[in-house]
């Protein structure tokens, strides 16, 4: 099946949901996401791990005048990210199905459109197409947060969208410049990655374009100190939206580094390696420290994500295949872990009189051993407990960094320790100790379990066999970092792995 | 001879211009402009633009200024202070103009073009004559000529739209006409017919009938 079907299926379900009677909208979009998930699983199973390059390539000239191709393809870099996206959207839509939403047609249509946007960004094999999807996926979230959020939602969503689009627009400029400048030689104008990779831009040009892209991606993740939109945004979002937003959108940005930045701007990547590593390191430390000072459980998870994404960026900018492999695996892991965490946070809040403050919780494990077990598993996974796939990810990330920049790896390990502090603090202060004033322990409902348990099973499954994605991404990741690696570590004097 | 004429004429033009700007009464300003235009016509003659000069006198000083005078008379000349309490920035306005003047002078006098320092191209008989102008208008500048004529038409139409009387807009000067109620049109919606006076008589009559008859 062509990948276009995968991308546009959710959009089609959105269209149907928007036009059909309102009560069918939840079902239709959920069914759409399930089919999408099924297709994604199919792609994973029929993926040829021995083959180089893109599979299921779709390549059509979209806007010939601008050299923009409608080019989609799967390879090791995006295979599992696509799968996780499909999975998490399905589960978030399921979670959304369990509640009543005002104006359901618009809500579900936007939700499904968001899936199309994200899948498009992951599958795009053309720089302009990537940029387009990257910006576009934010628009549904604008509506989802602004219309169905809580508190000061309009302000929060405006801040979020503008802040993240600020980065994206710089990226747009950078992307256009990449294509245009690459075409100034003999080559015809084209934005396809494969064509752009043929041309090596001048280093000075690479530098500023790199900064544009980096800004976009760092804001989107977000990394310190560009996370200003995150606290307000996270507080305002409805939970299913927050879950996918936190899990998936940030990964698009990290993926962008691997797909776009490292192969196209290797000189700049090597040149700015230290800078980005320092930002990532600062994010790890800052996110971790913030996570253990917050009391809003959403913000604990939000700042934890900042730290985790710091690790991911750290791995990518080790400019070594180990680090990049770890980062890619960690993207999948973090996405898989953070969604059940948010849903559990929702379940907890429902037991603490609606408060999402951990000071109002406590002792919630008393009558809810299954809930506690689920929380415990994902919490341990999130703190990269060895034996979880998250650990494998972090192991490779830090191994890569270790080999590239020893001291950065050493400092980054403080993030590992702090992660255990803030995750256990969150777990203990919600599930353990004496109950808070409004807290009432109650086992999670079957419906909640339907959302959470499959995700936990996935987390466990990946923990048992993390090579599943690793083996499939090996070739693509190595190809993605190769040039930058050579520039950052000239072969002389350096030991090849 | 020519320099003397030039100085006289240009002094007249400048004085006229200053008069326009500086005189409080708009009526005097209009008169100053007439003087300015006539001086300018003299300069045009010095530059061997006979037809332009003639047009200047006839069209401008003759026709346009008359229009001005009528409007000034209509509106009245309750002159206000020259520069009112506007934004502070505006006190610097003359300075802007002065700066512009300096720049323009530098541009024109500092130009490397030799011809500016000369008295112009050698005179060719017929230069600036109505014949030459007419020929140009009918050949190379045919389109501008036609478009200009259309522009005049449109300007007339526009002026009519703006200046004609309609109900509700009037002051005390003419209430009767304002009562015109054209068919089922919304009150006071003007039309060309209305402005052309085609309907006035009938309406006046009808209205009078209404007022007097019942």
């Amino acid at each position: 099946m062509p990948l276009s079907v995968l991308i546009w299926l959710p959009a089609a379900s959105a269209l149907v949901a928007a036009l059909w009677p309102a009560r069918l909208a939840p079902r239709v979009t959920f069914a759409g996401s399930l089919v999408t998930l099924g297709m994604a699983v199919g792609y994973v199973f029929s993926f040829d791990r021995s083959a180089q390059g893109l599979q299921w390539l779709t390549d059509q000239r979209w806007i010939a005048e601008l050299g923009i191709h409608y080019k989609l393809g799967l390879d090791g870099l995006n295979l599992f990210l696509v799968l996780v996206t499909a999975l998490l959207f399905a589960s978030a839509l399921l979670a959304a199905n369990l509640r009543q939403w005002e104006r359901p047609r618009l809500f579900y249509a936007m939700f499904a459109l968001a899936e199309t946007g994200v899948l498009g960004a992951f599958l795009a094999q053309d720089l302009a197409l990537f940029v387009a999807f990257f910006d576009l996926m934010l628009i549904p979230f604008y509506f989802l947060i602004g219309a169905w959020g809580r508190g000061d939602r309009v302000r929060a969503t405006t801040k979020l969208v503008i802040y993240t689009l600020v980065g994206s627009l710089f990226m747009l400029a950078g992307a256009i410049a990449t294509g245009v400048i690459a075409a100034q030689g003999s080559q015809p104008l084209s934005f396809a990655f494969s064509d752009l990779a043929q041309v090596q831009l001048a280093t000075g040009t690479q530098y500023w374009i790199f900064l544009c892209f980096a800004l976009a991606f760092l804001v989107k993740m977000p990394l310190f100190p560009l996370h200003g939109w995150m606290p307000d945004g996270y507080r305002a979002m409805p939970l299913p939206v927050l879950a996918v937003f936190s899990a998936v959108l940030s990964k698009v940005a990290a993926y962008g580094f691997l797909r776009v930045v490292l192969p196209l701007f290797p000189d700049a990547s090597a040149h700015f390696q230290d800078l980005i590593l320092l930002i990532a390191l600062a994010s790890i430390v800052y996110g971790s420290v913030m996570a253990f000072t917050q009391t809003d459980i959403r913000l604990i998870l939000g700042f934890s994500s900042v730290a985790q994404l710091g690790f991911i960026v750290l791995g990518i900018f080790s400019l070594r295949p180990e680090g990049a492999q770890g980062a890619l695996l960690q993207m999948v892991n973090h996405a898989l872990v953070v969604v059940p965490l948010f849903f559990i946070a929702g379940v907890l809040a429902a037991r603490a009189g609606g408060s999402e403050d951990i000071r109002d919780m406590g002792g919630l494990a008393l009558r809810a051993p299954v809930l506690a077990a689920m929380f415990l598993i994902v919490a341990l996974a999130n703190l990269a407990m060895p034996g979880s796939a998250n650990f494998v990810g972090e192991f490779y990330i830090l191994l890569g960094v270790f080999q590239a920049k020893l001291w950065i790896a050493v400092i980054a390990f403080s993030g590992v320790v702090l992660a255990s502090v803030y995750m256990l603090r969150a777990f203990v202060r919600t599930m353990h100790n004496r109950p808070g004033p409004k807290a009432q322990s109650r086992e999670m409902s079957f419906a909640d379990g339907l959302v959470i348990v499959p995700l936990v099973v996935c987390v466990l499954g990946l923990a048992i066999y993390p090579r599943l994605p690793l083996a499939r991404s090996e070739k693509s990741v190595a190809a993605s970092v190769r040039t930058a690696q050579l520039i950052a570590n000239p072969p002389s004097g350096q030991r090849a792995p | 001879m020519a320099p003397v004429l030039f100085f006289v004429a240009s002094l007249g033009a400048i004085a006229g211009a200053i008069g326009v700007v500086a005189l409080r009464n708009p009526f005097y300003s209009v008169l100053a402009l007439v003087g300015h235009l006539l001086s300018l016509a003299a300069l045009f003659l010095l530059l061997r633009a006979e037809f332009v000069a003639a047009a200047q006198v006839v069209v401008y000083a003759g026709a346009v200024m008359v229009l001005y005078v009528f409007v000034v008379a209509y509106i009245g000349s309750d002159e206000r202070p020259l520069a009112g309490p506007g934004p502070a920035l505006l006190t610097a306005a003359p300075a802007f103009a002065a700066a512009l003047f300096v720049e323009l002078c530098i541009a024109m006098l500092g130009s490397g073009l030799k011809a500016i320092d000369g008295e112009g191209a050698p005179y060719v008989a017929g230069f600036g004559s109505p014949g030459q102008i007419g020929e140009l208008f009918l050949t190379r500048f045919l389109l501008p000529f036609e478009v200009a004529s259309y522009l005049l038409l449109i300007a007339a139409v526009g002026a009519v739209i703006l200046a004609r009387r309609r109900r509700g807009l009037e002051g005390e000067d003419d209430g009767r006409l304002a009562a015109a109620d054209l068919f089922s049109m919304p009150a006071g919606a003007g039309s060309q017919a209305e402005s052309a006076g085609l309907l006035h008589d009938r309406h006046e009559r009808e209205e009078r009938e209404q007022r007097e008859g019942w």
Partner: protein
């Protein structure tokens, strides 16, 4: 069956036990979860014996080192992270100790925890722990060593926080977990240093390659080994990473016996022994280990002298004993260290079980100040405690005597500054005897406390209102707090059986390794340490004799001193306390480690956190980065709109000004 098959079975049983219990927690009736757990570990022990026999049946060079890979777990880009187990004498020795002691402790717990509302949960955790510990010792590469390492840490956390509604327990759990994570980090970093040069995570491959790529005291190797030591110290509660272990006594007593005495905390010893080919090429790192082990054994012994919490005294004793082992294996006394590990597992588990029995009789109270006179009420417990105490004090011919002295013998034999370690070791041995019998005399001698009297009359004391013994907070007996019932060894046969077997071991295991007579452990472990220069060295007979005599004398002298202080002249300790106030304060306050860490790490971290969340977030992240540009744009907006004041003349003026500017630009360009 090959040794590896047995070894896989060793791993499989506890895992299966855990899964069965945790998935069936709602349906398994009565004590079934406990029995399932015990049976799983028992089966695991049987398999371990099977592995032992299978291994013994193999002969030839390298025949004693067997590797088996289940599947490629996470290998990629040249990193061989496979699920591999390594079966050699060392790992078989460890699985035997672990499964054996664990089986007995499971048996003990079947009754001990019976009335606790978290019964099934307890056994699933316990089985999970055993599985993790076995994974740790069987791991054939660094990767799964780390996994097992962290798993035991997690299990330890879960069991410390088993009574999770006790804030003291959860706090202790977090502390233990975080300390252990620090250890994990050390282990991972150490692994990186080694992997960087050898290019493999596999133990066998690493040890083969190490001599080629590392010179002696190679910088990276020393760094790597010291970092491994960080891992070992965190897990084995050695200074400076020891503060979690006393707090870990918040967990149920069988947990203390199993995890925080017999097995997990000795993982550090195992690690150093396992890594001995590396440590021998990095003697600098090994010396660090030996010195810190020595410091720990001394400091912990001094602290144990003054503590009043029964379990904490034993915990500090554990620290001290592990200090001996660490010092031993770091100094090359591999077999001796591991032998001590085994004997310690027996007698320390025994001591904890006996302590558990007393605590049950006291209805949860752990303070020595409240105890006394239990000798008559609990004869069996008393007997077991004394046997354990004698073994711990190093009185011949109990097991501890032989194992401890063998360690000190090897250390002393190294000569040079190792003499200091040797001397400190004997000083601490004396103190060991003192604090051990302090416990015995204070708990079992003297006038019987009301609880003891009640027991003599046949009633087991029950608290009217359950309270947290540390804080005195009132509790209920639901999930998350200890259950209502208490069980003592005298009345329950499973407890009695377990303690009996352990007592026998504590008394007799020393005979496996009587100097000059038997060398069972030495010989069994010999293939593992065959390549070591240090292990093959034989100490002089003089030293041996001096050591044995000195050890026996000091043990007995310590007991005598304890008897004098706490039985014959009970007023003396008070006087000594008054005289040596500073020393007493140092000891009773545990050398102020907690306070120092609080001031050096916890408070600064909290202060930084507060600074970030209140100041930095507002001033920089929201202020400079968002507010800055926003206010610039707003100011621009105000300016632009201010100029848009509606005055036509102003507009014309701006236009003219613009023209002036444009013209000016062109005039400048034209020059």
């Amino acid at each position: 069956m090959s040794p590896t098959t047995w070894a896989w079975l060793v791993l499989a049983f506890p895992l299966a036990g855990m899964l069965v219990i945790s998935l069936g927690w709602r349906v398994l009736p009565g004590k079934l979860p406990g029995w399932i757990g015990t049976a799983a570990i028992g089966a695991s022990f049987v398999s371990a014996v099977g592995a032992l026999l299978a291994l013994e049946g193999r002969h030839g060079e390298h025949a004693k080192t067997v590797v088996s890979t289940a599947y490629d777990y996470a290998g990629t880009v040249g990193v061989d992270a496979k699920l591999t187990i390594l079966v050699d004498p060392l790992s078989v020795f460890m699985i035997l100790v672990v499964t054996g002691v664990s089986a007995l402790i499971h048996l003990y717990s079947v009754v001990y925890l019976w009335e606790d509302r978290g019964y099934a949960r307890f056994f699933s955790y316990l089985n999970f722990f055993v599985f993790s510990m076995l994974l740790l010792v069987l791991a054939g590469n660094f990767f799964f060593l780390i996994v097992g390492w962290a798993f035991v840490g997690a299990a330890s956390y879960l069991l410390i926080s088993f009574w999770y509604r006790r804030a003291t327990a959860t706090r202790a759990g977090i502390k233990a977990f975080v300390m252990n994570v620090i250890g994990d980090v050390g282990l991972v970093l150490g692994t990186y240093f080694i992997f960087k040069h050898v290019g493999t995570l596999d133990f066998v491959g690493t040890f083969e390659k190490a001599p080629e790529v590392f010179a002696t005291n190679d910088g990276d190797l020393v760094a790597g080994c010291i970092l491994l030591l960080v891992g070992a110290f965190a897990k084995s509660a050695q200074i400076p990473l020891h503060t979690w272990l006393p707090d870990a006594m918040e967990g149920p007593t069988p947990v203390s016996a199993l995890i925080h005495a017999a097995t997990m905390v000795t993982a550090g010893v195992y690690l150093i022994a396992r890594m001995h080919p590396l440590f021998e090429r990095a003697p600098a790192a090994a010396d660090v280990g030996a010195v810190l082990g020595c410091v720990t054994l001394f400091v912990a012994a001094t602290i144990a002298l003054t503590q009043t919490d029964l379990k904490r005294v034993i915990a500090y004793s554990t620290m001290s004993q592990i200090g001996y082992m660490i010092m031993g294996v770091s100094a090359g006394a591999y077999a001796a260290g591991l032998f001590h590990l085994m004997t310690h597992a027996f007698f320390k588990a025994l001591l904890f079980m006996a302590a558990g029995s007393i605590i049950a009789a006291m209805a949860g109270v752990q303070s020595l100040d409240r105890m006394g006179g239990f000798r008559k009420a609990m004869p069996f417990t008393f007997g077991c405690f004394v046997i354990g105490g004698l073994a711990l004090s190093g009185v011949p011919p109990f097991s501890g005597f032989f194992s401890k002295d063998e360690i000190l013998l090897v250390v002393g034999d190294r000569g040079g500054w190792h003499w200091i370690l040797y001397a400190v070791g004997y000083v601490a041995a004396f103190m060991t005897a003192v604090y051990t019998f302090r416990m015995i005399f204070r708990a079992f001698y003297g006038d019987p406390v009301p609880e003891a009297r009640e027991l003599e009359e046949g009633h087991l004391h029950h608290a009217e209102k359950p309270v947290n013994p540390m804080t005195g907070e009132e509790e209920d007996t639901d999930v998350g707090f200890p259950g209502p019932g208490h069980f003592i060894a005298e009345r329950e046969w499973p407890m009695k059986t377990a303690m009996g077997i352990l007592a026998a071991g504590a008394a007799l295991l020393g005979l496996l390794q009587v100097p000059k007579v038997t060398h069972v452990v030495d010989h069994f472990l010999e293939p593992t340490f065959a390549g070591s220069k240090l292990a093959t060295h034989v100490a002089s007979d003089t030293l041996l004799t001096v050591g044995l005599v000195l050890g026996a004398v000091l043990g007995v002298a310590g007991i005598a001193l304890a008897h004098l202080l706490w039985v014959r002249r009970p007023e003396l300790p008070g006087r000594i306390r008054a005289r040596a106030g500073a020393l007493y304060a140092l000891s009773v306050n545990k050398w102020y480690f907690d306070e120092i860490y609080d001031a050096a790490f916890v408070r600064p971290a909290q202060a930084v956190g507060r600074f970030f969340s209140t100041r930095f977030e507002r001033w920089v992240v929201d202020g400079a980065l968002i507010g800055g540009p926003t206010s610039v744009v707003r100011a621009g907006s105000a300016l632009v709109r201010g100029l848009q004041a509606g005055f036509l003349r102003l507009y014309a003026g701006m236009l003219v000004l613009g023209v002036v500017g444009v013209a000016l630009y062109f005039l400048i360009v034209s020059q």
